[in-house]
Amino acid sequence: MNNPVLSIILPRLAMGVFILFGVSVLITIGVEALAGDVCSAILGQAAEPSTVAACQAQLGLDRPVHIRYIKWLGNVLQGDLGTSLANQREVSEQIGKRLGNTLYLAATTALFAVPVGILLGVIAALYRNSFIDNAISTTTLTTIASPEFFVGYVLMAIFAVNLGWLPAISNVDSSMGFFTRLEASALPVMTLAMVTVAHMMRMTRASIISLLASPYIEMAKLKGLKPSRIIIKHALPNAWSPIIQVVVLNLAYMIVGVVVIEVVFVYPGLGALIVDAVLNRDLPVIQGTAMVFATAYVLLFLLADILSMLANPRLRHRR
């Protein structure tokens, strides 16, 4: 393998695929433990064993686990994620709709949160231990340490109940126009943004501070270079790698945060879907949604790894 870039990416992609397989097995095992209960749950505790058995046969639950897994895997690779037990609709159809909503939430948040988070982190690092740094750090600490639902409810209390500017429940659907949609999603976006900005700011700040302690930064000072030049030409090119890691890792955090926020604001996204499915013991939906989440997680981590290696100047220019 001559191309250095390929030799970095390919092994990691292979690893990612391996992990996804492992994840799908784990999820199936986890969901399996539910299987026994489903039929009893649907039919009630007093049901006859034969009725339960018939139900299991109908749902395909009587076949051994590994057969079901292979069948499921085969279907997934063709795009068929099964049928929901609760409402008999195609799982992929449900996921598709909800995924769009969740992505909208994530994208809108990221658009705002990423640049703000990085900027605040860089400023805090440059003016380390000054009033600005302390103010930023304290505020973000409050947001990070609080559970998402707290931030969500506080914002709801302020903006929806007290001020009445924004709707408390974010019932979004595709028929909405651009601005109506934005208004309806404003609160969940704000909540998610606050948490993400906080995480990103802290991680960026830490990376930049450790970067600023490098010997070549001291050397630049000793060469009498202007501070602006030192930051832009010396610090920044080496900062991309850690910053990219920070951004992508935070996108991964967002995936988990989204779940709670969607429940708080009753936002029709993937997170709300999996919570409902779990409470209803809707196996295929759980399996499908969990796979989507896990895949996104794995892909994002993979991306973080690859991008930060590519951004490392030592690797780009080989001996």
């Binding site: 010997p215 050397m219 009498g224 270079l225 030409k233």
Partner: protein, 547 residues
């Protein structure tokens, strides 16, 4: 006498050590004339680096200037604004750091980093800076001067980077350059090339320089005047030649003392061979190049075999093979005629006990959370089954042996000095009552005077206990002092081996000659002579060896 360029008066600098401000430069003064090279020499903690940096008006984080004045060509630097200081740095005064590899930004080419300071200070435009970089790279003997500027720091070797940094410093045509231990991290043979190039470039441009080092022999080559520092105080100051010929202070005399060559007479063939290394060939797992090629070495009971080589010679790898950390591809290690198992984990305790090792960095060779008495005591218990009161007594005995006070038993490693730590490591090795001790660069990280103390201790212990040493080092002065037999290694193979007398008298193998000739001597003309001889082809250089 040319005009005074830098006039430092009564400077007091304090450093924040564990919450307390302590003086590290204690009311020192210096004057530097135009075109003069001043050598600042001292052991670690002397304050020489801190003192030298003040010419830039710079103190490292954690240090502060308390009082005194720094006058650079009429301008007072103490209390200057940042903007003013920036005008001077990289412009009138330039800095060459100890580690070029760390001081170059990995994200930019050498030429870019060369050009930014002079261009920003308005000295020249980009195009002219490029031309100048080629000119200076050529003057400093860098290979392919036209194109080397397009490379990135990690694509260039250590010695080349050091020269590139010197070129960068010369780029702005400064009045003063500060050299902060520029060759300390380099191999002895590379060091010569860099020193020669620096001296020539500096003299040619009549630049004043402050040369900071702990190695008096090196400073002797470069400086016109020398200041000897110790713990922030001035010990002696004067003209370089005079000081070398007639040192006034005891401390200076000690620093100048070249280690004596110890005589050793014995009949090689009659003595008892303790360890036999036969045909060892080895490589690190997963690599395709042999790092050791067919090595054969005999170690005689009670004697010292010194293995000399530079980085990449394989000398440390040899130690790893002997101890079983790296199984060889071929060959065997025989102890008293019996073959030792290749892997460490297969060896019986008795074998492990007989061969002990002492490391280069005593700081990391001891567990910081263990007390000294436990560090020394563990081998006693583990190998000899000595416990309780008997163990305590043995530990005290050993502490006495290594010339440390008995209270040290209760201390932790961090509370000891560098030399004291290494003594404890020696005690730890002795506690096992070994037959052979492998010393892996044990004095390389220590100040000269401290190192001498360690070597003396080791020699005395050898006389008393009849223990053998395999002494790995890159420093020929140490070899001359301690060795009975010498093995010279180069790139994984043995170049030459024999008794000390045989190796150190001519005729020499080319590589041995290169090594021997590269060791700086206290003669101020030594460097110039060597450079001349090399140019005339009378002395070997690194290129002539590899061809």
């Amino acid at each position: 006498m040319s005009e005074i360029l830098l006039d430092v008066k009564d400077l007091l600098i304090e450093a924040d050590i564990d919450g307390e401000w302590k003086p590290i430069v204690n009311h020192l003064s210096m004057t530097l004339h135009r075109g003069e090279i001043l050598g600042l020499i001292g052991e670690s903690g002397a304050g020489k680096s801190t003192f030298g940096l003040t010419a830039l008006g710079y103190t490292k984080p954690g240090c502060r200037i308390v009082s005194g004045s720094i006058n650079l060509d009429g301008v007072e630097l103490v209390g200057q604004s940042d903007a003013e200081l920036r005008e001077i740095r990289g412009n009138k005064v330039a800095y060459v750091a100890q580690s070029a590899a760390a001081s170059f930004n990995p994200a930019h080419t050498l030429a870019e980093q060369f050009a930014e300071s002079p261009v920003q200070h308005g000295k020249m435009k980009m195009a002219e800076a490029r031309k100048r970089s080629i000119e200076l790279f050529r003057q400093l003997d860098l290979p392919d001067p036209e194109h080397i500027g397009e490379r990135y720091p990690h694509q260039v070797s250590g010695g080349q980077l050091q020269r590139a940094m010197t070129a960068m410093a010369l780029g702005s045509d400064p009045d003063i350059i500060i050299f902060d231990e520029p060759t300390t991290a380099l191999d002895v043979t590379t060091q010569i090339e860099v020193l020669g190039a620096i001296k020539e470039a500096v003299k040619a441009r009549n630049v004043a320089a402050i040369y900071i080092s702990h190695d008096l022999a090196v400073v002797a080559q470069m400086a016109d005047r020398i200041m000897v520092l110790r713990y922030g105080n001035l010990i002696e100051e004067g003209n370089a030649r005079e000081m070398l010929a007639n040192p006034r202070e005891t401390y200076t005399k000690k620093l100048l003392n070249v280690r004596t060559v110890r005589e050793s007479r014995y009949d090689h063939d009659k003595e008892d061979i303790q360890l036999k290394i036969e045909n060892i060939t080895a490589r690190y797992p997963g690599t395709s190049v042999d790092v050791l090629k067919d090595i054969n070495v005999d170690i005689i009971k009670g004697k010292t075999v010194a293995v000399v080589g530079e980085s990449g010679s394989g000398k440390s790898t040899l130690a790893r093979v002997i101890t079983g950390l790296l199984p060889p591809g071929q060959g065997s290690v025989k102890f008293h005629g019996r073959e030792l198992t290749a892997e460490l984990r297969d060896r019986p305790k008795k074998d492990l006990q007989s061969i002990q090792m002492i490391y280069q960095m005593a700081d990391v060779a001891m567990n910081p959370r263990h007390k000294i008495k436990d560090i020394i005591g563990r081998p006693l218990e583990f190998y000899l089954g000595v416990k309780g009161k008997a163990r305590e007594q043995r530990v005290l005995d050993l502490l006495q042996h290594i010339e440390l006070p008995v209270e040290y038993g209760e201390r932790y490693p961090a509370q000891l000095s560098g030399g004291e730590k290494q003594r404890v490591c020696i005690a730890r090795a002795l506690a096992a009552e070994p037959e052979l001790i492998i010393c892996d660069e044990v004095t390389s990280a220590l100040d000269q005077l401290v190192a001498e103390g360690i070597l003396d201790l080791l020699l005395n212990l050898q006389k008393e206990l009849n223990v053998s040493y395999l002494f790995i080092t890159h420093d020929l002065a140490t070899v001359k002092a301690i060795a009975d037999e010498i093995v010279v290694m180069y790139q994984g193979a043995v170049v030459e081996q024999g008794t000390k007398a045989e190796i150190l008298t001519p005729p020499y193998q080319p590589y041995t000659e290169l090594l021997l000739s590269s060791v700086p001597e206290m003669d101020p003309d030594w460097l110039d002579d060597l450079v001349d001889r090399r140019k005339r082809g009378e002395a070997p250089t690194a290129e002539s060896i590899s061809s």
